[in-house]
């Protein structure tokens, strides 16, 4: 498994829409745990008022991420491989999904 960042810029209008998408996403990821693991996400406040996400996943390949996105009905703008991780502080307290 390799770590990837997935950019999904914009596309959601309300937090409820994002929540619905994350539920589908988690459900799909659980179906193929050997191929994909969702680590965490940051919900973006886009300048046009929409919401987007930056997601951190572990996956067996970029294709596994695309398959997951397709099944969960999520858009993809870009997939970037993570070369290394530097953690300085813990993430701010997230909202429970």
């Amino acid at each position: 498994m390799q770590t990837y960042v997935i950019m999904r810029r914009g596309g959601w209008r309300t937090p409820d829409e994002v929540r619905a998408a994350t539920e589908r996403s988690a459900e799909e990821a659980d179906r193929t745990p050997e191929d994909i693991r969702w680590i965490r996400s940051y919900v973006l406040a886009e300048t046009n008022g929409e919401l987007g996400t930056v997601d951190i996943y572990e996956a067996s390949s970029p294709e596994a991420i695309r398959k997951h996105a397709y099944r969960a009905g999520l858009p993809i703008d870009e997939i970037v491989a993570v070369a290394d991780t530097v953690v300085v502080l813990a993430d701010p307290q997230p909202l429970p999904i």
Binding site: P62, K67, Y70, P75, V80
Partner: protein, 879 residues
């Protein structure tokens, strides 16, 4: 009855509910027509058989159970487990004389009957190669059949190179294959079992590791302390029996997996009367009129404790008994086993080659190689000619199990033996074989020398089919180094001689080579010749030549981008090779399928095929290179990561061969990747060496493609070779015409890239739109930048992948099949409508399910409706 799995204690079912539930739901799926293959793992003695038997008992009123087990022999009988099952089924019995593909077909056919069938294959870590092939084929094909296949294996004995590991790796990629495992017992369960004993339950759990077999043996041995090993526990239990019973155990222990009553009588003599005692004590069980240990661990413990002289004596008795007319249907692999264990050299030389020949016939090449090795250990007793024949056959078995260096060594010994007795015909043929084998590891010069030597030796004796085959091989060697003129000459000689000798198969083989040389020259006669030969070979029922012809035709379609050829033959070729166990041909065509899908703009499909091809662990480099390149290009074109390492691996495989057809696809991919990243200076670096080679060998097609990428990077070469087709148009600065030609050919991405060189706004806008449709982010960005440089503003961001239609990339044919599926037609009716074989429809349906990620036809139709793939569709009518 072979499938009578009763009579075994299923008392111990503690903590097995989860596994049983898994089986129950798998059987439910199977009943609904979603076949399932369950791989059940667990350490020796953990109770895999017990839980499977319990499950089968539970459902026996509503399911038919076919049961077979693999033998714990160093060289097991080919297709051993299916011998057990076949006692129930005449069709399967007939298939056992042919090989894995026929066996798999017979099982699936038998499984189509009601009630739902459960096929159990026990202990597949011991399986022979042919049995593993059956599992592989079942895993691939049972998706639409109402059958549950259960294969049990010990996961604690699988080292990294165990053949089963490779098979499991392939199997688990199919959605209908699932893995389960049987865990050891917890301390609580052990305590429950030890309730009435005086042993300390905690200690018992610790020492036995919760292994149910170990625990049971300890409890049955009745000793006051827990023995250190399973073996000690078994021996302690046996020690409580009478002398006669212990002698009987010895006799059963030397004849795995089980011993028939008549044989046991011969082995045990007067002690035969103690059989009841052993059965009552639970050490032995009776099944199908034969006797076996309750567990293989017990048999091993007893066998290992035998004194050498006693063991030898028993094996000699077994050999004599099996060799007698009384031996009846007994199997030649068993004779070879006892001959070896009895140290009876004459018997080894008699039975090992026979066992090897049978194994070869059934596709168990690993076992065949082992039998030949066993016979050749006593080769000094044979004549040089006999030794030569055994070495040649061993070389063949080693070749088919991809032990190429060992195969070369064996065939070299054969050549020496034949040379010693002056047998030119067989020496020449062995040289031809070495010329084929040594190509794989890349001994190109040696191959060529052997090819020539074979021809000159065989030309010095009366004309033979061996000579015609040697001509075909020389043609093959010349085509590989792109000397098509010579390849044609040798192929024609092979065709003529084959025809003169009336050897239809040899003639077809040489015809295939000629067609291949013509394809490489882009001579339109090539595909036509190959298609004609395909009809002839099919009509003659020549399985392997048909596979090779499909391979060549689909290669031709990929190479010349003539997708009318691959539309006709790719699905059939994959199906034929899969059905007949032509695994290497199937793998190569899978890689072709990846490349073809890539070139046609079907990137999901390309990545799926490429990943499937890359999961197969074979040493063949050609399919690996093609699949790696296709995967890297899908990623690069989408702007996805993990490109460079994939191409580096491909280059490391291709470069040492010095062959243009392996190197140029990698070089071209590297050039494209550099271009997409805007690193134009890297394009020369990526293509220099291959361009020199292609110019030296005057291969215009690779040259045109290489020059095209170099031109896009601003490099202008003068090589004196005229480009062709769309490359010529682009070189002449006519981007629009180049794009039109690419569209005509069926390559949308290439068409869009050709437009990147256009100067006007309109073609650039079209390119952008097409690249956005394809999800080609980096190329789209390049075009968008060019438009912005021209002052164009307000470019629309393209639709994002998840909202695109026909994301599943069904082919036109698949859309047709899908439409008929939606009309509720069955495969046979669809086949009739489309004028194709039901086989081909099966293949299309499987592809549709895969692409739509659907488990059933109904789901596929529903998903297709959701994706809008069924809109604008005409009512079903003949197409």
């Amino acid at each position: 009855m072979a499938n009578d799995y009763r009579g075994i204690s299923t008392a111990n079912l503690l903590e097995r509910e989860a596994v049983l539930d898994g089986f129950r739901s798998a059987l439910e799926d199977a009943r609904k027509g979603h076949g399932r293959l369950v791989l059940l793992a667990g350490e020796a003695g953990v109770g895999k058989s017990t839980v499977v038997r319990a499950f089968c008992d539970e459902v026996r009123s509503s399911a038919r159970v076919l049961w077979g087990g693999c033998e714990p022999l160093f060289t097991p009988s080919p297709l051993g487990p299916f011998l057990d099952i076949a006692q129930e089924d005449a069709e399967l019995r007939a298939a056992l004389e042919h090989g894995p593909a026929e066996v798999a077909t017979a099982i699936l056919r038998a499984a189509a009957m009601k009630p739902t069938t459960i096929v159990v294959v026990e202990d597949v870590h011991w399986a022979d190669e042919a049995t593993l092939d059956v599992l592989r084929l079942l895993g691939r094909r049972l998706g639409l059949k109402g059958v549950l296949v259960v294969a049990t294996y010990r996961d604690d004995v699988l080292d990294r190179v165990h053949p089963l590991r490779v098979v499991i790796g392939e199997l688990v990629t199919h959605p209908h294959v699932q893995r389960m495992s049987v865990p050891p017992l917890t301390a609580e369960a052990v305590a429950e079992l030890a309730d009435s004993s005086e042993l300390d339950a905690v200690e018992l759990h610790r020492l036995t590791g919760g292994n149910p077999f170990f625990v049971t043996e300890v409890l049955a041995s009745g000793s006051g302390a827990v023995p250190a090993t399973v073996r000690d526990a078994v021996l302690a239990r046996a020690a409580r029996l009478s002398d006669g019973a212990r002698a009987l155990l010895d006799a059963v222990a030397i004849a795995p997996p089980r011993v028939e009553l008549w044989l046991l009588e011969a082995l045990a003599g007067e002690h035969f009367s103690s059989l009841n005692e052993c059965l009552t004590a639970g050490m032995l069980v009776e099944r199908d009129g034969a006797i076996e240990f309750r567990h293989e661990l017990a048999r091993l413990a007893i066998e290992e404790s035998l004194e050498p002289a006693r063991r030898l004596d028993l094996h000699r008795t077994a050999l004599a008994a099996l060799d007698s007319p009384n031996g009846g249907t007994s199997h030649v692999a068993r004779l070879a086993y006892h001959a070896g264990a009895a140290a009876d050299v004459d018997a080894v030389l008699r039975y090992a080659p026979a066992a090897a020949a049978r194994a070869t016939l059934l596709g168990a090449h690993r076992e065949a190689a082992a039998h030949y090795a066993r016979a050749l250990r006593h080769g000094d007793r044979l004549t040089p000619g006999e030794r030569g024949d055994l070495f040649r056959e061993q070389a063949n078995a080693l070749l088919l199990t991809e032990q190429l260096e060992e195969s070369i060594a064996a065939v070299t010994r054969a050549i020496e033996e034949y040379r010693e007795i002056g047998d030119r015909l067989r020496e020449g043929d062995a040289l031809r074989i070495r010329s084929i084998v040594a190509w794989g590891p890349g001994y190109i010069e040696a191959c060529t020398r052997d090819g020539w030597d074979a021809v000159s030796l065989l030309e010095s004796v009366p004309a033979s089919r061996e000579l015609a085959l040697a001509y075909a091989q020389l043609s093959d060697l010349h085509r590989e180094v792109e000397d098509t003129a010579a390849a044609r000459v040798w192929a024609v000689k092979g065709i003529e001689l084959g025809r003169r000798l009336g050897a239809r198969d040899v003639e077809i083989r040489a015809t295939t080579e000629l067609g291949g040389a013509e394809v490489l020259d882009r001579d339109p006669a090539g595909p036509i010749r190959l298609e004609e030969a395909l009809s002839t070979a099919r009509a003659a029922g020549l399985v392997a030549p048909v596979g090779r012809l499909y391979l060549f035709l689909n290669w031709a379609g990929m190479l010349t981008r003539d997708y009318t050829i691959t539309d006709r033959h790719l699905a059939d070729g994959l199906q034929h090779c899969s059905d007949h166990g032509l695994e290497l041909y199937r793998l190569i065509q899978l890689a072709f399928a990846a490349r073809i899908a890539l070139d046609r703009g079907h990137w999901d499909e390309a990545a799926d095929h490429a990943n499937a091809a890359l999961r197969v662990q074979r040493s063949a480099t050609t399919p690996r290179i093609i699949a790696l390149v296709a995967l890297a290009l899908v990623r690069a074109r989408r702007g996805d990561p993990d490109v460079r390492a994939v191409l580096d691996e491909a280059w490391a495989l291709a470069e040492p061969t010095g062959e243009i057809h392996r190197m140029s696809p990698v070089a071209l991919a590297r050039a494209e990747v550099a271009w997409l990243a805007g690193r134009h200076e890297d394009i020369a670096l990526a293509t220099d060496a291959v361009l020199d080679l292609a110019v030296a060998r005057l291969r215009p097609w690779p040259i045109a493609e290489l020059l095209c990428w170099r031109r896009r990077a601003g490099i202008h070469d003068e090589v004196g070779v005229e480009p062709h087709g769309p490359f010529a148009a682009e070189a002449a600065g006519d981007s629009v015409s180049a794009a039109e030609q690419w569209t005509q050919i069926g390559c949308p991405y290439e068409a869009a890239l050709a437009l990147v060189g256009a100067d006007e706004e309109e073609p650039l806008r079209r390119a952008l739109e097409e690249l956005q449709r394809l999800g080609a982010r980096p190329a789209a960005a390049i075009v968008a930048r060019r438009l912005q440089e021209r002052g164009v503003r307000n470019l629309r961001r393209g639709p994002r992948p998840s909202t695109r239609s026909n994301e599943a990339h069904l082919t036109t044919r698949e859309l047709q099949v899908l439409a008929l599926l939606a009309d509720g037609l069955r495969n046979a009716a669809i086949a009739e409508r489309l004028f194709v074989s039901p086989r081909t429809v099966d293949h299309h349906v499987a592809a549709i399910l895969r692409k739509l990620d659907a488990q059933s036809r109904g789901e596929a139709v529903a998903e297709a409706g959701r994706l809008g793939l069924l809109q604008d569709r005409q009512p079903a009518k003949p197409i």
